[in-house]
Amino acid sequence: MASEIENKIMSLREAVELVPSGAHISLGGFTTQRHPMAFVHELIRQKKRNLHFYGHSPGGDLDMLIGAGCVKRVELAYEADEAFSRIGPRFRRAVEKGSIEWEDYSNFGMVQRFAAGAMGIPFIPTRTMLGSDIVEKEGFNKKTRSDPKIASKKLAIINCPFTGDKIVLLPAIQTDVTIIHAQVVDAQGTVRIYGQNFGDEQQAKCAKKLIVTCEEIVEPEELREYPEHNLIPFFRVNAIVKVPYGAHPYACYRYYDYDPEFLHMYHNEAKNDGTFLEFLNDYILGVSDWEEYLKKIGGDRKLRTLKADRKLGYAPRLKRR
């Protein structure tokens, strides 16, 4: 393979062009941590439509995509910014209006499905969700299920062929494109993530195409000195985009914390259609790129308050209420 000499480093605009409308996608991160937000903004600016979204616990990343009209269907376990919001307001609105299709699993269920896709097996057995309505009620209708890109049913419960015990089988997921935000990537594409990787490993490795946005791009020698600390080998990565603070308003361990002031503002604005549109125009559609957005949210002065303490990996003096 010529991957080693291939130049994968590109602009955000070019990387987003790799995602067609209607694609089956997944985004890395977990509730208030490490979502590829710069990428999300550009997806919205490029007016992608009919996306099929797979997640475990997304937050404002999915909420903004839904609010901007980019999403047709979701398969997920949770949608909220945890302590900052009881639920993603745009997600709630869309479900209550019936303007998107949804399928519920549990977090463990979803990461197992990504893991099965990453391993190249068609399904994965699990003991979770038994006894719940998650296994009883299917969200997608027959028409959706007849789409060859979507599993023919939500799950199956069988008796284990070895013990006879009840067991749940979950269909594998292989996304068209997964996008994650990592702390460090080298110029060939080797990915290093500091802190918990959440479901990023399985989401990334189940993808047909993988795009990584990152805080820093370094020389391969630097990451190859400690290969045991790296998460994804270079040949799986199709595109690399350097976007410092690219997860704002969410936390990026060892780099910066979440932005409570912004998150409180977002959840306030996103409650109503009108104020959400203002938010969308002010912070996403009305700015040309991520640099302009960072200036808009308060520039260096704001970013300094979020900067992580070197030892702790977060900002201990951050005002969080």
Partner: protein, 251 residues
């Protein structure tokens, strides 16, 4: 709120492995580490195992959960090799509705396909309910939150009685207490229905019954042991000095 956090902490035995969610469970687990269970192991589903929290996290994936942790991987590892493998002694849960058998609804009010109100969904709650050895539920005690039967079982409790879990294929577990703003409910050994085990100071058993949507046996209820001054001091000064969750409840 303080009383609930203290009650949650007291449910944790020393050395137990605890799965904690956002909010009160974090307060309870962190308090327990400072009081009755200094050796309890706090596990967060987003990946951190045995955190020694210095600052209260606002998310189970918060960078604050990394503080002095033993390992930090991700959901797949923690859910499969810790939870599903049977290592979680106690899991903390909450939800929008809790019924007489301790089933939790965190998904929707009304029909699943046409919900009147949509909630965030299971997250890890369904997993913790299925695969922890026991669970503690924390909830605001209001009639609409405590119906006879939840609209949607996101996280199974005893389902419909003593055989519900076994019949569904769940290998172990089940709820052992519901800590509410009014008291503590436990589950009858024989029927697995919730009864009032204790009522908080200033609350009467009658009030607890009035705020419950199903028939609540109050015959065994005693007054909840009030928090000690030391517990309150640690809670206010060490656990949540920023008053992130303590304040929220007062508002």
């Amino acid at each position: 709120m303080e009383l609930m956090a203290v009650a949650a902490a007291r449910e944790i035995g020393d050395g137990e492995i605890v799965f904690a969610g956002t909010g009160l469970p974090m307060l309870g687990a962190m308090l327990a580490q400072h009081t009755n269970a200094p050796n309890c192991v706090i596990v967060f589903e987003a990946g951190a195992v045995d955190c020694k929290l210095a600052h209260l996290p606002m998310s189970v994936g918060d960078p604050r959960t990394m503080k002095s942790a033993s390992t930090a991987t991700g959901l797949f590892d923690v859910f499969s090799t810790v939870l599903q493998r049977g290592f979680i002694d106690v899991g903390f849960l909450s939800g929008a509705q809790i019924d007489a058998y301790g089933n939790i609804n965190a998904t929707c009010i009304g029909d699943y396909h046409h919900p009147k109100v949509r909630f965030p969904g299971s997250g890890g709650s369904g997993d913790i309910a299925c695969l922890s050895k026991r669970t503690i539920i924390i909830a605001v005690h209001e009639k609409r939150r405590f119906p006879e039967r939840v609209d949607y079982i996101t996280s199974p409790g005893w389902i419909d009685g003593p055989w519900g879990r076994k019949r569904s294929g769940l290998p172990w577990g089940g709820p052992s207490a519901v800590i509410t703003t009014l008291g503590v409910l436990r589950f009858d050994e024989r029927t697995k229905r919730a009864y009032l085990a204790s009522y908080h100071p200033g609350v009467t058993p009658k009030q607890a019954q009035e705020k419950t949507g199903f028939k609540l046996d109050v015959s065994r209820a005693k007054e909840t042991e009030p928090p000690t001054e030391a517990e309150i001091k640690i809670l206010r000064e060490k656990v949540d000095p920023e008053r992130i969750f303590l304040k929220k409840a007062e508002e």
